[in-house]
Each structure stands twice: as structure tokens, then as C-alpha cells.
């Protein structure tokens, strides 16, 4: 994706989301639901790509931030009113970003598998905290959340996410992310502070994951802590890697394909998840550089 004209793309995408949303009562509810799932997956995958792909920090706890955003936003809507929905979205994102800061500052000094295990651990801790806090409904979670998420909000948020991540990475400042990814020692030698860049990527990623969680909560109307464990995080990691680490276009395509795939496989009912896992193995053997990576790479492979 080119840096030039991204603002125009953003406006076009927002307008398209609005128009589609306007006609949404005429569409099949099932397709609308799937379309929203796809949008949320895009937000999650693109925001994780900023951390895992561009900055090269292997995080396994992205679903934890989604849970923070979802629970706090849903709670805010429930205690205030439906009109607060847009505020709730931002609030969920901010709470997730704050959590990201708390998690990121100490743990981003670690590398590779150690960082992966710490983020995984934080994801599990977040899940356990929600499971035990009465304010968020403990193990049963929150129910009866008003269904306020529309296709406009989902695709609008997805467009904003893509715009922000793309603009960040292509800015002068954002080159630092790729620099940290390629070589931390060289980065600090030329005055790029690796920890600061890593934390920035982490907090930004967490913010959008929180927004995605908020959208999810107001779409499904229920939030259960069990749904945001390690397996969920893995889903998004697979999207990022299949899309070709650090390529926003590829990651979007992977998010779309991997969300639609189980739906297309629905007719095979009980075999669909078996086929899904075999496809992941097959794709890794056939196209390890990512399913959709064409053209020149902008970052070195890990």
C-alpha cells in the first residue's frame, strides 16, 4: 500500500462503509454477521501486524487486549446509555491501550520466545481477572449488551485502523519500527530507541484491539472471558503470518480468507476444523512467505 493518497482511500472506505450500512436492513442477517466478523478480524490482524510484523515483537496475547476493550466498553454502555456507544468504543480502546502500556513497559525488554511467553502469560492473567471480577459478571461474563455495532462502525473502524497503521509505518518516525525489527543494536546506534518504539507499537496495537473487542461485544451481545484465551490469540497470529509478516495488504487478505474459510466449510460440518488445520499446515509448506505476498518486501524476514 502506498503512503500517498492514503487519506483519500480512508475517506472512500468510510463513505463506502456508510452507504453499505445504510442499505444493510435489506441484506441477509447471516451475511451481515459474517461481514462484521471479517471487519473485526481485519482490525485485530492489522493492529497485531504492527507489533508482530513491522516491529518484529512476537506477541501471543492480543486477544487479552480485545477482552479488556470489550468488557470495559460493554460495561460503560450498560451503566450509561446506548447513545454512549461511540464513546464506549474509544473508552474500550483506551483501557486496552493503558493495559498495553502496563504490559509493554516491563516485558518488551525480553526477546523472542521469552517475549512470546510473557505476552501469553499476560493474556491468561487478563482472562483470569475477568473470570473472577463480579463487576464483569465473573465466569458467565456480561450478557444483554445492546446490539449497537453496525457494518458502518466495523468497517469504518477497520478503515481507520488500516489508515493509522499504514501512515505510521510510512512516516519518518515509523521507519523506526522496521529499523527495530531488522536490527535493534543498529537501531540504537543511529539514535532510534528500541524500547520506545516497541512500546509505541504495542500500545497502538492494543488500542485497536480494544476497539475491535468493543465492536465485538456490541455485535454478539455477550462477552465471556473463556472466549479470549490463548487459542484466540493464535488465530490472529496465524492471520499475520499467513498474510506475510509486515505486509498490511496481505494481512487484510489473510484475515478475510481465514474468517470466511470456516464459513465456507460449514457444509462439511464436523470436518471443517480438521480441514482448516490441514490447510494451515499445507499453506505453510507451500507458501511459507505468506499467502499473499507478491512483489518486493519492505522488511527483512525473521
Amino acid at each position: 500500500m502506498k503512503a500517498r493518497g492514503t487519506k483519500r482511500w480512508l475517506l472512500a472506505a468510510l463513505a463506502a462503509a456508510f452507504v453499505i450500512s445504510y442499505f444493510s436492513p435489506h441484506y441477509n442477517r447471516y451475511y451481515l454477521g459474517v461481514a462484521m466478523d471479517v471487519g473485526i478480524a481485519i482490525i485485530m490482524a492489522v493492529s497485531l501486524n504492527l507489533i508482530n510484523g513491522y516491529t518484529g515483537q512476537f506477541s501471543l496475547g492480543h486477544a487479552g487486549f480485545m477482552a479488556v476493550g470489550g468488557f470495559t466498553a460493554a460495561k460503560l454502555t450498560l451503566v450509561t446509555s446506548d447513545a454512549m456507544f461511540p464513546v464506549s468504543l474509544v473508552f474500550g480502546g483506551l483501557m486496552a491501550a493503558i493495559t498495553g502500556l502496563i504490559v509493554g513497559v516491563p516485558s518488551l525488554r525480553l526477546r523472542g520466545d521469552y517475549l512470546a511467553i510473557v505476552t501469553l502469560g499476560f493474556g491468561e492473567i487478563i482472562r483470569v481477572i475477568f473470570q473472577n471480577s463480579q463487576a464483569f459478571g465473573a465466569a458467565t461474563g456480561l450478557t444483554g449488551i445492546p446490539r449497537l455495532t453496525t457494518i458502518f462502525w466495523v468497517w469504518g473502524a477497520a478503515a481507520v485502523t488500516v489508515y493509522v497503521v499504514t501512515s505510521m509505518v510510512n512516516s519518518t518516525y515509523g521507519r523506526g519500527f522496521i529499523c527495530v525489527h531488522d536490527d535493534e543494536v543498529a537501531a540504537s546506534a543511529i539514535g532510534v530507541n528500541p524500547t520506545r518504539y516497541k512500546v509505541t507499537a504495542f500500545v497502538t496495537g492494543a488500542f485497536f484491539a480494544g476497539v475491535a473487542g468493543a465492536l465485538y461485544a456490541h455485535q454478539k451481545s455477550v462477552m465471556q472471558p473463556d472466549g479470549f484465551g490463548f487459542i484466540r490469540s493464535i488465530d490472529f497470529v496465524v492471520m499475520v503470518i499467513l498474510g506475510g509478516m509486515g505486509r498490511t495488504g496481505g494481512v487484510i487478505a489473510a484475515a478475510v480468507v481465514l474468517t470466511l474459510l470456516p464459513e465456507f466449510l460449514r457444509q462439511f460440518a464436523s470436518y471443517r476444523m480438521i480441514i482448516y488445520s490441514l490447510l494451515i499446515i499445507g499453506l505453510m509448506m507451500a507458501r511459507p512467505q505468506g499467502l499473499f505476498s507478491v512483489g518486493k518486501k519492505t522488511t527483512a524476514s525473521v
Partner: protein, 303 residues
């Protein structure tokens, strides 16, 4: 004081199981430098192998006998060793020269494949099944302490297996070869080490240990089901990292530490609900102060 000793024994028993699984993670990491996510599912397969082997073995030996339990365990370990070797040959060997992340995702794919296949109704089904009693259940009393026979079993077997592992790695030719491959694969190949055979051996050994852990885990659990490996697998993986991944004594130490922490946290009223979180929180604290794990060596990056 009694409470403390009682919890220590429970924690040691649980920790021994984690240690056995963690050894498999850390050994595979040692030779191939990636985390084998399918390892926890091999442990689950070990438990199911024992589930199906227990009735015929009860006929051959007498029911709930130590010899029968031993036979079940050895056979399950052998089955899992074969499964582990097959996984490596089919899924990981074709990717040997690829980036590690590719192998990692493949491992996640293999793990999901095993889990979903086993959950299918024509395989094991998703329901929880009661695990048969393999050894006579008895509580031994030691001055106010009550120790279950399966706890004693797991402690003895783990001690023997850890000693056996140390002997294999430090004192045999194949152990020397394993360490050589771990240290420098190319140099080991030039010295005449058959890399493929050593990697197969490592997978077989790790999977056999996982099977033993699976049998012991099932003895203490409510029942067995295809996703039973996920949580203990996560703990064991954590244990391997805490101990310093790639380091065998570290994995054993990490496993026992995690088992103790979890048991003590579970015994404190008010904390028990947070048990799963506490072990991870302490893990994170350890890693923040010892970023390479307890026994791992910090690597200096050369420019």
C-alpha cells in the same frame, strides 16, 4: 506446618508431571530451535492410549496391579514415541531449512489438527471419559500427612526418569550427539552425526516422557478429553521457559517450581480462583529479573 508439608507433596507431584512434559519442549527446542506446540497433544494421546490399553492389560496382569500399570505406561510411551517421530518426519522435516516462524505455525496447525480430529465423534468424541484406576488407590499416613499412592508413584517414576535422562544426555553416545546437534548442527553433521536420526530420537524420547506425564495427569484428573493437554501443556511450556529453554535441568526445576506455586496459591483461601493467573504472574516476575530463565545463560549480542 502440616499444611505446608501436605501442600509441598501435592505440589511436587503436580510439578513432576509438568517437569516431564517440559523436558519434551526443551529437548526439541534444543535441537530444532522452535516450540513444538503439538507436544501437549502428544501427552493427551498418551492418556488415551493408556485408557484403551488398561482393560486388556488388566486381563494379562491382575487388575489395578503395579506391574499392569507399568506395562500400560511403557506401551503408551512407545505408541507416543512413534507418533512423535511421525509428526516430525511428516510435518517438520520438510520445513527444516525454513524460518522458525514457519515451523512454529505448522506446529500450531499440527496441534489443532490432532485436537479437532480427536474431538470428532468417529475418533474419541468431545465428551469427558472417566480414566480407569491403574494402581490400587491407597493413602499412606506419615504422622498426620496423607500421601496418595499415585502421588508416590509419580514422584518415584519422575525421579527415575530424570536420572535416566541425565544419564542418556551426559553419558551415552547418542546423548553426546544430541548435545552436538544442539550446539552446532552443521559442525555435528560434518563430524559424522546422523542429524535426522538424532532429531527423530529426540522427538521419540520427548513424546515418551509426555505419554508418562499424560498417564499420571489423568490419574489425578476428573477424566480425559481431547483438549486435556492444552492447560498442562501451557504450564509445561512456561516451565521450560522459566528454567531457560533448551536447558534440561532448567525444565525439571521450572516444572517443579510451577507445580509448587500453583498448589500453594490454590491452597490459600481467596487466592484459589486466581490460581491460573498467579503462576503466570510469578513466571513474568522471574523472567523480568532473569530474562534468560533461571538456569539459562544470557547471550551477549555481537555486532
Amino acid at each position: 506446618m502440616n499444611w505446608f508439608l501436605q501442600q509441598s507433596i501435592n505440589g511436587l507431584a503436580l510439578g513432576s508431571i509438568y517437569a516431564l512434559i517440559a523436558l519434551g519442549y526443551t529437548m526439541v527446542y534444543g535441537v530444532l530451535r522452535f516450540i513444538n506446540f503439538a507436544h501437549s497433544d502428544v501427552m493427551m494421546l498418551g492418556a488415551f492410549a493408556a485408557y484403551f490399553l488398561a482393560p486388556p492389560m488388566a486381563k494379562v496382569f491382575s487388575a489395578q496391579s503395579y506391574s499392569g500399570a507399568l506395562a500400560v505406561m511403557v506401551l503408551s510411551a512407545a505408541i507416543c514415541a512413534i507418533i512423535g517421530i511421525l509428526i516430525e518426519i511428516l510435518a517438520y522435516r520438510p520445513l527444516r531449512r525454513r524460518p522458525k516462524l514457519t515451523v512454529l505455525i505448522t506446529a500450531i496447525g499440527v496441534s489443532l489438527f490432532i485436537e479437532y480430529t480427536c474431538q470428532h465423534q468417529s475418533v474419541f468424541g468431545a465428551a469427558t471419559r472417566p480414566f480407569p484406576k491403574l494402581i490400587p488407590e491407597r493413602d499412606f499416613q506419615f504422622g498426620g500427612l496423607s500421601v496418595n499412592s499415585s502421588d508416590i508413584g509419580v514422584l518415584i517414576v519422575t525421579a527415575l526418569l530424570l536420572a535416566g535422562m541425565w544419564w542418556i544426555v551426559q553419558r551415552t553416545r547418542v546423548g553426546v550427539a544430541m548435545r552436538a546437534v544442539s550446539f552446532n548442527e552443521r559442525a555435528a553433521a560434518l563430524m559424522g552425526v546422523n542429524i535426522n536420526r538424532i532429531i527423530s530420537f529426540t522427538f521419540g524420547l520427548g513424546s515418551a516422557l509426555a505419554a508418562v506425564a499424560g498417564v499420571f495427569f489423568s490419574m489425578r484428573a476428573q477424566g480425559i478429553e481431547p483438549l486435556m493437554g492444552v492447560q498442562p501443556g501451557l504450564r509445561a511450556f512456561t516451565a521450560a521457559v522459566v528454567g531457560g529453554i533448551g536447558n534440561l535441568p532448567g525444565a525439571a526445576l521450572g516444572g517443579i517450581l510451577l507445580g509448587l506455586l500453583e498448589t500453594f496459591a490454590g491452597g490459600v483461601p481467596g487466592l484459589s480462583n486466581y490460581r491460573d493467573g498467579i503462576s503466570f504472574a510469578i513466571l513474568i516476575l522471574i523472567l523480568l529479573f532473569k530474562p534468560a530463565g533461571l538456569l539459562g545463560k544470557a547471550q551477549v549480542e555481537k555486532v
